[in-house]
């Protein structure tokens, strides 16, 4: 037995020595590389001799014609900024996980996609995955500052600094009630009176009585009634009122508003307007495809009705369900950051600047090669060619969308509409505040579990709201919600004081 132990400890010692040696080597070589890179970068700035290759990880399915397009793109960027690109696409479902591993392991990369919904921006900025961009923006990124809506850069600051360049796109988030127009017309239902969820009642009743095969209200488990709150963390119960003056953080499950709203949802549920299995339904795609729904709620953007109608194959109309508010998460919907270990941060910023201001480059990356993937039908309008399926990039993820060509069928004033939509946006109270969770991670883990237990059944009306609200609040308190609220409050107070709110 003692011999075994000795063997084992010997082994462990060897291992530790080896790994330490390795880590030391790794560190050294990295440092050297960094040093060289820095001087190399300077050299490049002095004489334009050696072009730089930028590694760019972005989200979306890999494209067959990527290499073809890259050849063209590189010709252009080489001429413009003396740099070439290596674009690596990671599909939507893989992106977060793979980027987390790669960023943590120090994989070489220069530019990377980040957002509030994939490879979380605030979290990773705080952990040090991204380079702080304040100075780069002033020097190499002037074009960006001049071009995109200032609210984007302002709203995406983390602890007062910018760590990524948001794409210039729709700024606020607005909820709408959508309707299956065929049913609307069939029963001559009137939309003008629909302002809140409760107003839907008579319409739903008509559909329920006359269309047995149709789900009147298509709802999924993520549903939440529209409430006058701005959340400290999305889908967690800590929030402030939209019209708050004192920025007091509250538990939304204790407010009279939620009780009222849940009564309506519960009523709908019991009346059979909502699927009885809504609390476990993550997609109602089959309803959309078969046209067997009457209404639902979705977040909108200009001209969304057209897009919906085209993708479903039958007309869809909508009416506003909320004000267009500018939230942290809506500002951070699509961003490109520069990796903390980038060897060419200045070049990367130069490239991002070009991407967000130069229509030629932006359109090439978005739509491919003229004559192969698309053809121009007027100055600023293009038509897809059959090969477009080999190069079909997610437009919204690649920087400023408002310098893109219009697609065949788009209205001439599309981007003006976007600007109008953005101007109408109202700042949510916590815009620019990002909660630092590091002091309450344990409580958040516990609260998150309690929340998930109660949230979907409550919000979809699947359970009695009175009874379950009490239960949920008891468990949330026991899990440490009050501590999170207190921490959020003190951070918000400090932020408020610092920003003269």
């Amino acid at each position: 037995m003692s011999k075994k132990k000795k063997h084992f400890s010997l082994l462990l010692t060897t291992l530790l020595t080896v790994s330490l040696a390795l880590s030391a080597c790794g560190g050294d070589s990295k440092n050297n590389a960094g040093g060289e890179a820095a001087s190399g970068g300077n050299k490049a700035a002095e004489s334009t001799e050696k072009p730089v290759e930028l590694i760019w990880y972005t989200i979306g399915p890999p494209q067959k014609d990527m290499d073809k397009v890259l050849t063209e793109v590189n010709k252009y960027t080489l001429e413009k900024i003396n740099a070439t690109l290596d674009i690596k696409m990671l599909d939507f479902g893989d992106y977060t996980q793979k980027m987390q591993v790669m960023a943590a392991s120090g994989e070489p990369m220069d530019i990377l996609f980040t957002s509030s919904w994939a490879f979380d921006y605030v979290q990773n900025a705080r952990k040090g995955a991204f380079l702080q961009l304040d100075d780069l923006l002033k020097n190499q990124g002037k074009g960006i500052v001049d071009t995109i809506d200032p609210a984007f850069l302002e709203g995406s600051k983390v602890d007062g600094h910018n760590y990524a360049i948001p794409a210039n796109k729709e700024l606020p988030a607005q909820e709408v009630f959508r309707f299956n127009k065929e049913l609307l017309d069939k029963y001559k239902l009137d939309l003008t009176s629909v302002k809140t969820m409760a107003d839907l009642e008579p319409l739903l009743k008509t559909i329920k009585e006359n269309e047995p095969g149709v789900t009147p209200y298509a709802m999924v488990k993520d549903f939440m009634p529209i409430m006058p709150f701005d959340y400290v963390i999305e889908k967690m119960p800590m929030a402030v009122y939209m019209d708050t003056k004192d920025y007091k953080v509250i538990n939304i499950l204790e407010t009279p508003e939620i009780k009222e709203a849940l009564k309506t949802v519960r009523k709908f549920y019991q009346a059979g307007y909502i699927s009885p299995e809504v609390a476990t339904t993550s997609s109602v795609d089959d309803l959309y495809k078969a046209g067997k729904w009457f209404t639902d709620r979705a977040s909108t953007q200009p001209m969304a009705d057209n897009l919906w109608s085209v993708s479903y194959g039958y007309p869809v109309v909508s009416t506003p369900a909320s004000q267009p508010y500018i939230y942290n998460w809506s500002v951070m919907g699509s961003m490109q950051a520069i990796s903390a270990n980038s060897e060419y941060p200045e070049k990367a910023m130069e490239f991002l600047n070009l991407l967000n201001t130069d229509p030629v480059l932006r359109n090439m990356i978005d739509s491919g090669i003229e004559g192969v993937h698309y053809e121009k039908i007027s100055d600023n309008m293009i038509k897809n060619l059959p090969d477009a399926k080999n190069y079909d990039m997610p437009t919204f993820s690649l920087g400023n969308i408002m310098i893109n060509y219009l697609n065949e069928g788009d209205p001439e004033n599309k981007w003006e509409e976007f600007k109008k939509f953005n101007d109408a946006g109202i700042n949510a109270p916590l815009l620019g505040f990002n909660f630092d969770t590091s002091k309450v991670t344990n409580e958040i883990a516990a609260v998150q579990n309690v929340k998930e237990e109660f949230w979907a059944p409550l919000m979809t009306g699947s359970v009695d709201s009175e009874e379950y609200l009490t239960k949920a609040n008891e468990k949330l308190k026991a899990a440490g919600l009050d501590k999170i609220i207190a921490e959020a409050q003190s951070q918000i107070d400090a932020w408020k004081a610092a920003n003269n709110k």
């Binding site: 075994k4 399915p61 793979k98 591993v101 993520d222 089959d286 495809k289 067997k292």
Partner: protein
């Protein structure tokens, strides 16, 4: 029907009575049916028309047949055939490599005369429970071994598995009597000759089991490719299908994100395509199964080796 009535036809001289044979058939057959049924369903759905599926739900006899799902899957990559190629290559190479390493390791620690057998058994077992997690492994594979974007990044991380070693060691111990090895030793055979000439042939069912598990492990692996492969030409089948599947789920979960859902919904594969993917991914490996299976069902003619 007793065994004596039919002694030539089967080596299996210890037959059950016919009543029990029927009962055993019912147990095994019933369970097999329970397992096959959903799979048949998968095949049926994959040939169902998407619209009919949305309207009627899952049906045993679909109202409308369709090949759309397969067209979609094949259309989403002429890479599909290449992915099959990668998967087959990885599976064959990987199974061979892992059988060699595992069978040697397991043999050594099965030998009572091996002084360090307990140490090495523990050395292997310990890795079943403790691992360093994703990031350190990623660094070892990509930065130290430099395997990123090579086929070895798909082969090596799965090559050894302490679980298999422990099982195989038990097979060696139980199916090869010590006396046999000792007598081979006395005849002057070295460890290697004993291993190859006596131990391996006697442990074929065990080796086949490990071979099968390892084949399936390689065939079904998608995670290593997700981590280590950026080059689209080296993506194996499961990984490609998994990518489509997870991305589809991801997009559905983020449907409140208007720009994402509006862009991505256009290209969304549907339930039928998902089932077509299962069929395409599982089909070929089912045919590889009988290759291993004969060792589980028929047993060995042990006598030949022993005498």
């Amino acid at each position: 029907m007793s065994a004596n009535a039919n002694p030539v036809k089967s080596r299996d001289f210890h037959r059950l009575s016919s009543v029990w044979n029927i009962i055993f058939n019912c147990i095994a057959g019933g369970f097999a049916l329970l397992c096959i049924f959903p799979f048949l369903f998968v095949v049926l759905i994959s040939f169902t028309d998407e619209g009919a599926l949305a309207r009627d739900g899952y049906q045993l006899i679909p109202a409308k047949w369709s090949l759309e799902a397969y067209k979609y899957v094949f259309g989403s990559g002429d890479t599909l055939l290449r992915s099959y190629g990668v998967t087959i290559a990885v599976t064959v190479i990987g199974t061979l490599v892992s059988l060699i390493i595992i069978s040697l390791y397991a043999y050594a620690i099965s030998r009572k005369s091996f002084k360090y057998r307990n140490f090495f058994a523990f050395f292997a077992f310990f890795t079943m429970l403790f691992n360093g997690g994703l990031v350190p492994t990623y660094i070892v594979v990509t930065q130290m071994l430099g395997l990123k974007d090579t086929i070895w990044a798909l082969v090596l991380p799965l090559a050894v598995n302490a679980f298999y070693i422990m099982i195989l060691r038990t097979f060696y111990i139980t199916s090869v009597p010590d006396a046999l090895i000792e007598s081979a030793k006395i005849d002057g055979a070295g460890e290697f000759r004993t291993f190859l000439g006596i131990v391996l042939p006697l442990s074929l069912p065990g080796l086949a089991t490990i071979g099968l598990f390892s084949t399936l492990g390689y065939w079904n692996d998608w995670f290593n490719a997700l981590l280590y492969i950026d080059n689209p030409n080296l993506v194996p089948l499961q990984s490609m299908l998994m990518r489509i599947e997870t991305s589809m789920q991801f997009i559905m979960q983020n449907s409140q994100n208007s720009s994402l859902s509006l862009e991505a919904l256009r290209n969304m594969p549907q339930d039928t395509s998902r089932m077509a993917m299962v069929v395409l991914a599982t089909g070929p490996i089912i045919f590889a199964y009988p290759f291993f299976q004969r060792y589980f069902i028929q047993g060995l003619t042990v006598g030949a080796v022993k005498e």
